[in-house]
Symmetry: C2
Subunit: 346 residues, 2 copies
């Protein structure tokens, strides 16, 4: 062990934290004088202030945000609940949230639901028990119960990426119907008529609306919906992979696929690679979300969508403005525009 070795075995040893009382004692002042000095409050002499600051510095004082939170009844903490942290879409979303939240000196308690409504309820309960000031959530939408609980709790919350048509909540979503329309129309214009959709679960609003856009585009172009080309419940790459395999095995093959997300589309690429199907010649593919992963497939993936990171940022900003009173409390609904970015896959 060299002399520079830092011994970091700790744990139950030095776990005692320095409190304000100790700082006050060390500085020879009362506890609340110390408090005022550290919080830049008026009514404290420069000399005293310097003494307190020095003592705090020397002892390594760190204000206890918990105690402060208890006092203020504000934790400066947000609960963030998403479907799956490892899903690139949600990763980007959370990244946007985290960045914005940090700017406001708030913290994030992150939880994943795996799209399970029981887990979702638990996550909400945990967040509320942690006294978060607000909640950002992509609801599983298996029922409206989550929103019901949140609503009754009185804790401000904002839905991200998904919304309930007949519930008056704040939300920030993509223009999913438009996205579905644009993607499908694009494929039609490229000459396709048998266009499959590997959609998400239909109880999720973004999936339902993209489907509506898909249908709308088909009808507008004199095409009928073929149930055999509609596959639901795809959320992950694995889902996309298996759905694509099933589709190709069947007798009624599509010439194009519109996937619920780039992540799902990646699964389609995997299946196509394995089966020797050439994209875009044998099969055109369009994804959703415009993630960077679409740049790495061969050929690169055509995708429609906005920026999930931006959506996260907006939702966080909205919530924080609500919390800090910078924004009136009327229901705010934001629908972000989507764009089609055509690349080699279609």
């Amino acid at each position: 062990m060299g002399k520079d070795t830092i011994l970091c075995v700790n744990g139950n040893v030095n776990t005692k934290r320095v409190t304000l009382r100790e700082v006050a004692e060390a500085a020879g002042v009362s506890i609340n004088t110390a408090s005022r000095a550290l919080n830049d409050k008026p009514a404290v002499s420069p000399y005293t202030k310097a003494k307190v600051l020095e003592a705090a510095q020397r002892l390594g004082y760190r204000p206890n945000r918990l105690a402060r939170a208890l006092r203020y009844n504000k934790t400066k903490t947000l609960g963030v609940i998403v479907g799956d942290i490892a899903n690139p879409y949600f990763s980007m979303l959370v990244r946007g949230v985290e960045q914005t939240v940090r700017e406001f000196d708030y913290s994030v308690i992150l939880q994943g639901t795996d799209e399970d409504d029981r887990r979702e309820k638990e996550a909400i309960e945990v967040a509320l028990a942690e006294q978060v000031d607000g909640i950002l959530i992509t609801p599983t939408q298996r029922s409206a119960e989550a929103v019901q609980i949140l609503s009754e709790s009185g804790t401000p919350f904002i839905l991200m990426s998904r919304h309930f048509r007949d519930l008056e909540t704040h939300y920030v979503i993509m223009d999913d119907q438009r996205g579905g329309y644009v993607a499908t129309e694009h494929l039609i214009q490229r000459g396709h008529e048998r266009i499959a959709i590997l959609n998400g679960p239909p109880h999720i609003s973004s999936a339902a609306e993209r489907y509506a856009g898909y249908v709308e585009a088909l009808r507008a172009n004199g095409l009928e919906v073929d149930e055999r080309l509609v596959i639901e419940g795809c959320l992950t790459m694995e889902d996309g992979y298996h759905a694509a395999l099933r589709l190709f095995e069947g007798s009624h093959r599509p010439t194009a696929i519109f996937a619920f997300s780039d992540f799902v589309a990646l699964g389609v690429f995997r299946a196509a690679n394995e089966l020797g199907i050439t994209i875009p010649d044998d099969l055109a593919v369009v994804g959703f979300d415009n993630t960077i992963f679409g740049l790495c497939t061969r050929p690169p993936l055509t995708s429609v969508g906005g920026s999930p990171e931006e959506l996260g940022k907006m939702a966080a900003q909205l919530l924080l403005e609500l919390l800090t009173g910078k924004r009136p409390n009327a229901v705010t609904r934001i629908k972000l525009p989507v764009y089609l970015v055509q690349r080699g896959s279609s």
Copy 2:
């Protein structure tokens, strides 16, 4: 507005939370009788208990974890600090952590550093101010200061994926040197002699050790290190993309690339696609981490590594065992094995 409409405009309205005192009053008992009833403590009559539980239920009582934490001096919250939340490697890591943490009824406060040491320090300060019981961190390693601070704080912490050679800390890492060796040796056996490495920043231990393994394998096979084929600082897909472009533009092209991560390797695929370079004929590629994204490239990506999700789980488990006293406090160092999974790219 239908009769089922839930009005969720809240915010500053109903934000008053139900406290234990109110439950006690509603049940007509004292505050601590209520406390004991709700916490399944002995010495409370069944009748009283039922009364309290009913009142709690009716009022929608939720115990305030903050107040409880203040009392216990334990928050049941862990700070998790990683380089970049949107990096698939870290996403998987965080996912593993979150899953394990939930099993123990702990919460996670997540922060990203963007590999910036100032942000890292801030993140640590925030976590400590939040009184987290422990910290899981992938240190930026620009200096040992982060570890110094953590060490002095007395808060247990565990390094993930990276470690300091001369510091006595808990850590869970991959066998990076072995990984570097295996990847390089594999490429050599496939007949390659000009093998480039798109490595991470050298101050990061995993990068340094993979490089050591790379060098070791070259030497063991009578090959010399060619500085022109060593590129450092690659962490993202973008980095891999630009590094690969630079490499292909130069006069001294490699016939194989060993990338720091699958994420970086994806960038290589993008560059290769754009330049019309055929993998694996013109260029072999090996990634690291064995993420599912490697399955979607064409051809699929050869990769070496263990499971980042597993690493996250182990680190979380280790920390929680430390915190709950289930594990002695001796320094625990875990090095997870790595495997080579050969696919089409090499």
